[in-house]
């Protein structure tokens, strides 16, 4: 009961500290907007492709291939690929080299030749893919015609979409800039709990109220647990507000495993609180708050809270530093959970967070027990 009373008192005080709460909520949201909008392009994997113009020379003198190709050209024309006949006096290859057409297609009775542009590689690859589909279909139709000519039309018939198959390089959903910063800022706010925890006990000492708490008929462990619990709940509520804001106002994507995401974030808050407490016990005085604040800022920076930094290799000094940040662990794990539906990526993060939290709490309890007063 005492633990609950202290926790409620703690939360009441936290939420009455309007400046801190506003900062906790507004700063990440404003950063989300600024960084999310400013770095949109850095997160985009989309390439715009305009109309694709292809010049065609039909040297078959009419016939099944010419007829089938005309049908194919008509279908894909609806999708922005324009096949234009080679006019007399024009050289197909030169037209492509001079960048007037993306590709040059030559139809002969021996088959189809394609000359692509290296300057418009993406567009050329699209045309190549379509033509490959067309030739597969045409070869199939030719084979059917030899056995059952009546069904040839059936094979050649079909929507233009048959010519496009999505073979994505990155099959998973990837975060846009707002998605990235919604996650990064939320994780960073979780880590900010360390700064609040730094003054959790020291605040009572500075206010003089530690005297009343210590002289009351309650155990130090109750004071410690109550204050820790209050701080954790306050920070969880802040994180929830930021998640909801980013989800419903910025339309940030949080995936389909919100429960797991929250558990990881709670474990991060517990780690941050434990770190802040241990720091305040080991370093003492106002200096401890400055040092904890500095460490949190460095962890945020290296953890990619402000912009993505480093890669997964962990090589080099930067790679090493980056992988030391709990923000990085959480960002990395949660990205896997949210975008790859890889729930198991949460377990290593949970293990690290809780493991270090136990270590820091152990240090705090050890120092607290040895100390007179709080």
């Amino acid at each position: 009961m005492n633990i609950l009373s202290i926790a409620i008192k703690e939360m009441k005080q936290d939420f009455r500290d309007r400046r801190t709460i506003l900062f906790m909520l507004c700063f990440p949201i404003v950063l989300m907007i600024i960084l999310g909008l400013a770095l949109t392009n850095a997160f985009s994997s989309e390439v715009s492709v305009g109309e694709i113009k292809v010049v065609v020379k039909d040297a078959t003198g009419g016939g099944p291939l010419s007829e089938a190709f005309a049908g194919f050209a008509k279908e894909v024309g609806k999708m922005g690929v324009a096949f234009e006949p080679l006019k007399p006096g024009m050289n197909g290859r030169e037209e492509v080299e001079n960048n007037r057409y993306v590709d040059y297609v030559e139809l002969t009775n021996q088959g189809i030749s394609l000359y692509g542009s290296s300057q418009d590689a993406i567009e050329s690859n699209i045309v190549q893919g379509m033509l490959a589909s067309f030739t597969d279909k045409y070869n199939a139709a030719a084979a059917v015609a030899r056995i059952e000519p009546a069904k040839t039309e059936m094979v050649l018939a079909g929507g233009g979409n048959d010519y496009i198959r999505e073979l994505s390089v990155d099959s998973n959903r990837t975060p846009g800039s707002i998605d990235y910063y919604a996650l990064a800022m939320t994780v960073m706010v979780g880590m900010w709990a360390a700064m609040g925890a730094g003054k959790l006990i020291q605040g009572e000492v500075l206010r003089g109220t530690a005297v009343r708490l210590v002289t009351a008929p309650i155990r130090k462990s109750e004071i410690f647990t109550g204050k820790l619990l209050g701080g954790i709940v306050t920070n969880i509520l802040c994180v929830i507000v930021i998640i909801l804001f980013s989800k419903y106002v910025f339309k940030a994507y949080w995936g389909h495993h919100m429960g797991i995401v929250m558990i990881v974030l709670i474990s991060e808050i517990i780690l941050a609180m434990s770190f802040g407490l241990a720091g305040s016990y080991l370093l003492k005085g106002a200096a401890s708050r400055g040092i904890i604040s500095l460490v949190v800022q460095l962890l945020s920076f290296f953890g990619g809270a402000y912009f993505p930094i480093g890669d997964d290799s962990g090589e080099g000094v930067m790679g090493f530093l980056v992988n030391l940040s709990p923000i990085r662990w959480a960002n990395h794990g949660l990205t896997q959970v949210i975008y790859a539906n890889n729930v198991s990526a949460a377990w290593p993060v949970l293990g690290l967070n809780i493991g270090f939290a136990v270590l820091f709490l152990g240090v705090s309890i050890f120092v607290m027990r040895r100390r007179e007063g709080l």
Partner: protein, 311 residues
């Protein structure tokens, strides 16, 4: 019944002995004055009684129970009014009192009733929903007291509860101390204001260098210094060299200066008033008045410790 029993209490900080083998008994219903200059060891003693510090050796018993063995019982019966305000500025007066009272096991209607009672006792009922950040110094001091009494402790330690407040609030607090005492509370009272201690305390201990050097009622303490006379000399102006000058006069023990007034404590058996005055006049000092006073607590304190209480 003894409310507080201290036996052979010692507290060392490294090589420094803050409290040195102290023994003391405070009986039920007393207002016990605990006097000592800064660094004398009184705060360390109070901190050990209230479990803020662990004794190096010795025993403390509250209501005849050892505070280390029956810590909860001791704490339940103890109320602390610390010298520094111990209230939350961002919680209302009522929330402050009910939060601290709640830590003593009070719940529900009883908690509400006790919190309201405590606020009424210190005259803050109408400010129950106000935040202490908007209070005057005196009101904060009163709230500080309310937080210590809502659980109805048997022993209340008041460590300089009137520091830095206006005379009206000071009088209110002194009246509250008397009322608390009348309602059955035993009170340990420390103050730098000798007149407060003289006014309200039934028994007094003087602490110096970690030891109790005198203990008793104010009359008993005053009677211990019948061999000292207290001469008050008002000068037109004081330069600060008068002390050295007067200490050359046989019988003079201590000389204190308070603005333009010189206070001389001298052996009562030595008739030296004329020599004291001559010494001053020879030095060109203009004397405005001379008065030989009855010894008061301050005289006792000065005689015993050689220091002013405010040192």
């Amino acid at each position: 019944m003894n409310v507080l029993d201290i036996r052979g209490l010692t507290k060392k900080f490294g090589d420094f002995v803050a409290v040195d083998n102290m023994s003391l008994t405070i009986r039920e219903g007393e207002i016990f004055g605990f006097l000592g200059a800064n660094g004398a060891g009184k705060s360390t003693t109070i901190h050990m009684v209230s479990s803020l510090l662990r004794p190096t050796s010795g025993e403390i018993r509250i209501l005849e129970k050892d505070i280390t063995k029956q810590s909860r019982f001791a704490k339940m019966n103890l109320g602390i009014v610390p010298q520094d305000l111990a209230i939350y500025e961002d919680m209302t007066a009522y929330e402050n009192v009910s939060f601290f009272a709640g830590l003593y096991g009070l719940r529900g209607d009883k908690l509400k009733e006790r919190a309201e009672e405590a606020l009424e006792f210190v005259g803050l009922s109408d400010k129950a929903k106000s935040f202490p950040k908007n209070f005057s110094g005196g009101m904060k001091r009163r709230l500080n007291i309310a937080c210590a009494i809502a659980h109805k402790p048997k022993l209340i330690i008041m460590d300089e509860p009137t520091v830095g407040i206006d005379p009206q609030s000071r009088n209110y607090i002194l009246a509250s101390v008397r009322k608390l005492n009348e309602s059955g509370c035993t009170i340990i009272y420390t103050s730098h204001y000798m007149e407060e201690v003289e006014e309200i305390c039934s028994r007094i201990a003087i602490v110096d260098h970690g030891k109790i050097i005198a203990e008793g009622t104010k009359e008993q303490l005053k009677s211990t210094i019948t061999d000292v006379k207290d001469i008050r000399i008002e000068l037109k102006s004081v330069k600060g060299t008068e002390g050295d000058l007067l200490k050359q006069v046989p019988g003079v023990r201590t000389v204190l200066q308070e603005e333009n007034v010189i206070r001389v404590h001298s052996d009562a058996a030595v008739d030296n008033l004329n020599r004291i005055l001559k010494q001053l006049m020879d030095a060109g000092k203009e004397i405005r008045s001379v008065e030989e006073q009855e010894p008061n607590l301050e005289t006792v304190f000065l005689t015993l410790t050689g220091r002013n209480l405010r040192d």
